[in-house]
Homo-oligomer: 97 residues x 2
């Protein structure tokens, strides 16, 4: 994954990567200021961090009234460098205000 | 977490720990033979592995008709050894047949 693809994709999506956790919390909060719902997405080992980001937003910003909507999990098939297909788990957490 | 608390809690729960992934896949499949729904639970860094377990069961055992029900995420407050409270994220994936 290149660094430029790290933080954001569509207008209301935040893709979790390897940056410090609060980077993604801030990015999500910025998008929640503009959009009614934001999707926090991650795959592989970043899945845990996506849950952390969602929980930090909902618990610490309690007075802001952010809520967790659906949580979807899935599988993405990636081509690894040796040409074999690898399955990686994905998560999508919907946060709305 | 002690080793004995690692794999199972209630009848229809599988708590994901540090054992090999297929241990939990097997434990979940055994429980699905007896129970209509099983909850795969994890916290902290094991969250990713819980998603992996659920996806392996649903995708690889395609012909068995297992389905993912709700996916819940939450926060658990633990007392760390220095007496401070630490928040840890949790996940619960419901698998049903």
């Amino acid at each position: 994954m290149t660094s430029s693809a790290g933080t954001r994709r569509a207008n209301n999506e935040v893709l979790i990567g390897k940056k410090p956790l609060m980077t993604y919390v801030t990015a999500t909060l910025v998008q929640l200021a503009n959009e009614p719902t934001v999707l926090v997405k991650a795959r592989g080992k970043s899945i845990t961090r996506a849950v952390d980001v969602a929980q930090i937003i909902v618990k610490r910003m309690d007075n802001m009234g952010y809520k967790i909507g659906h949580v979807k999990i899935g599988t993405q098939t990636l081509q690894s460098e040796d040409g074999r297909a690898r399955n990686v788990s994905t998560i999508e957490v919907q946060i709305s205000r």
